[in-house]
């Protein structure tokens, strides 16, 4: 499947060059790419699931490596893997039910079974690690029942016609792929519509004559606020400009264009203004499973200010931003340093940075993200509704299966400083 490969390469290139901005776009593209991967993937008759999983893993590895900072990529990869497992599982159970004892004993099923058992083992581990979760619980039950059933069926079921089996095999393989693709399509759907779903909840959170403060620019926030206005809520919005990229200006322009009452303040004015603010609503770059938030730089300050004045600090995040990793995980590169030229004009300071004569003592650090610890967040609003930070791991557990957490085991660097 060369064309898939080229697609992957291209996407990897773009990720490398940081040409795709915003986790939502990235998520969507990733999902689409994986979908095409799956659709291209030729599945063997035996255990298609593993084949698919391996294929997706392979691609996912590249993608994640391409831009380790953009967590959305990893999230989607894991989501897709999870989907495959789930679909496969449901199929397996269906097959069990439909097939009865006769066909339950062919080698394929054995493989299938120990595939499942392997999975279930992992699931148990995951469950142990986090908590018990419906799907894995269900698989647990399924597996036990199946394995319980298996022995005596195998004794009886020796002879059964290969033809019917091959037929249903074919149908089944097609079915699995088809189902998975369906599911991925849904996923993409979710990603695209997460705005609306989040925005729908706006009315419950924003009330009359409130003052909302936000920082930087986030489409989710924009839609959220706009939805509230649509519902005839009248409120003020303070937009902190979000230096150094000043996306706050863009947001403010957009809001004003849509007729919201908008005020731009500098980031440094946040603390001064926060006492007049009723609620802080911000977007996020990613939400870690401990409820911590990776967000545009400056948000931590806002969060602290909000906490100081007991202002609710609300984070809007589409489900694709939920990341099953923990911030202390070595795999998570929390931050990205961008070019200092966003801060100051190179030419102006070129003589200060002239390393030729001892004066090269000016350094500029331009981090992209902040990490907001969970205790500063009052509420998460995802497309599934509002959640408490401490509940996030639970929510996340529903989206990912535990043994996908590490898509690629990368060598951990020796660091002793």
């Amino acid at each position: 499947m060369p064309d898939v490969q080229t697609l992957v390469n291209e996407f990897v290139n773009q990720l490398k060059k940081r040409k795709i901005e915003g986790s939502q776009a990235t998520a969507k593209l990733t999902a689409e790419l994986l979908r095409s991967v799956i659709s291209q993937q030729r599945v063997p008759h035996t255990n298609q699931a593993t084949a698919l999983i391996i294929a997706v893993r392979a691609v996912g590895e590249q993608l994640i490596a391409a831009n380790p900072v953009e967590l959305a990529v990893g999230n989607i990869v894991r989501r897709v893997l999870h989907i495959i497992r789930e679909e496969d599982l449901s199929l397996a159970t269906a097959a069990m039910a439909g097939l009865g004892v006769s066909a339950a004993s062919d080698d394929e099923d054995d493989v299938e079974r120990d595939e499942n058992s392997a999975l279930s083992a992992a699931a148990v581990a995951a469950a142990a690690r986090s908590t018990l979760r419906p799907p894995s619980l269900q698989t647990l039950l399924e597996d036990t029942s199946e394995s319980a059933v298996a022995p005596h069926t195998s004794s009886s079921g020796g002879e059964s016609d290969g033809r019917s089996r091959s037929v249903e095999k074919g149908s089944r393989s097609r079915k699995l792929k088809h189902d998975v693709i369906e599911a991925v399509n849904e996923l993409i759907q979710d990603i695209c519509t997460c705005y609306e779903q989040i925005a729908e909840q706006a009315v419950e959170h924003i009330h009359h004559n409130e003052v909302i403060l936000t920082l930087g620019s986030s489409k989710t926030v924009l839609e959220f606020l706009y939805a509230a206005k649509e519902k005839q809520r009248s409120f003020k919005v303070f937009v902190a400009e979000g230096a150094p990229r000043y996306q706050g200006h863009i947001l403010a322009k957009e809001l004003a264009a849509r007729g919201l009452q908008t005020t731009i303040i500098t980031d440094s004015a946040v603390f001064a203004m926060i006492s007049r603010v009723n609620m802080v609503i911000v977007g996020a770059h990613a939400v870690m499973s401990n409820g911590g938030v990776i967000a545009p730089v400056g948000l931590n300050m806002v969060a602290l200010a909000a906490q100081r004045h007991a202002v609710p600090f609300v984070v809007l995040a589409g489900s694709h931003k939920l990341c099953p990793l923990y911030p202390h995980n070595p795999e998570v590169l929390l931050n990205e340093l961008r070019s200092p030229s966003e801060l100051l004009d190179f030419g102006e300071f070129s003589d200060c940075m002239d390393s030729a004569n001892g004066t090269g003592s000016l350094h500029v650090v331009n981090p992209t993200f902040d990490y907001v610890p969970p205790k500063l967040v009052s509420l998460f609003i995802t497309d599934t509704g509002g959640h408490n930070p401490s509940y996030m791991y639970r929510l996340i557990a529903d989206y990912y299966s535990a043994d996908d957490l590490v898509v690629k085991r990368r060598p951990t660097t020796v660091s002793c400083v």
Partner: protein, 459 residues
Amino acid sequence: MDFQVVVLGGGVSKKLLPLVSQELPNALLPVANRPVLSYVLEYLELSNLKDLIVVVEGEEAAVHVGSWISGAYADRLHVEVAAVPEDVGTAGAIRAISHHLTSKDILVVSGDLVTDVPLGAVAATHRRHDAVVTVMLCSAPISGPSESVSSGGKDKTKKPGRYDLIGLDPTRQFLVHIATGAEVDKDLRIHKSMLHAVGQIEIRADLMDAHLYAFKRSVLQEVLDQKSAFHSLKHDVLPYLVRSQLKSEVLLNGVPQEEENGTEKVISQSNQQMLSQILANASESTFPLRHALGPYGTTSVRNTHKCCVYIAGSSKYCTRLNSIQAYSDINRDVIGEASHLSGYSFSAQNNIIDPSAELGAKTTVGPHCMLGEGSQMGDKCSVKRSVIGRHCRIGANVKVVNSVVMNHVTIGDSCSIQGSVICSNVQLQERVVLKDCQVGAGFVVTAGSECKGEVLAKK
């Protein structure tokens, strides 16, 4: 503001012949029936500078100017008229009167300047930067290239039709290069050291020096003493100051002691400025300061001085009466678009006709015209965009277009005057046709003669 003002009234400019004479020096040349000098004086008075020195070249001219001023401004201004010998040039003129100069800054303005640029702004610029000299620049007039002659119009060697080449620093506050007169049509040479200091120089050919300078007295006097050869402010003193900005011996040697301290003070404060500016934004730091900083501040602070500019907005009116062309232009403008300068109240027809003037039947005086007191016009005359002086007697169906007619002129019937200047006491007999001519004072043009682009004057 304690500026001492020196008005360079000039003398009898060769280029304005035959209009001017010993009796009627440049300064008294009537523009809209007022001596051009009065425009300057009122301009100064407007910005509340009442203590003036008017320098006139040539005793006789000085007498005339003096008598006129004492007549016109005795009560309003405190004017002191000084006579200097001919051909001393502007620098010479200042040198001659420099013992009169006392205040910290000197404002030198040419007596033939007609402008409405706020003088306060210029002074402010000067003071703000504590400049050695501040030059007022105005956008060079589009109509007929104005000549870059030093005020007083004594430098006869200028070829007309040249603007100045002005070099400005990026902030457009400082004068870093000036090429005047004949230099302009040569290749441009810039000292690299200057460019090193400024980083970027903007060369403007569309600006011209309006001959309104604010000097720091001490420096001006010193330069004049040291460089006895300097002849004209514009061509010698100004370029010299500009050139020697980065490294001004001027301020170093032979300066009276207290002045030394003065400059030291300048430096120290400029250092503070420098630091702050560098912190704020390197590009803002004005160049002498940057130079003073030297590479990583290792060099000793140099003794620099600054030459500033004030660039008049293009909306402002600013012209100098230093050529015949300019003379008729100014006359036209003062009763035309720049009428607010003239100080007269215009009639409904947008022209000025003195009540004592008499118009014959069917005589039309168009807009942008002026008719002096006691002038009479015969029938069927028509006057367009022209100025007619006092007590002129003009016959029947005479046409006057785009012309200036001074006082006591007699014009016979059916003359036609176009684009010409006719001085006082001239007599034009019947059917004279003048186009683009200048007629000297007291000249008599015989009947029926037709002239085009000629100069008619008494031998």
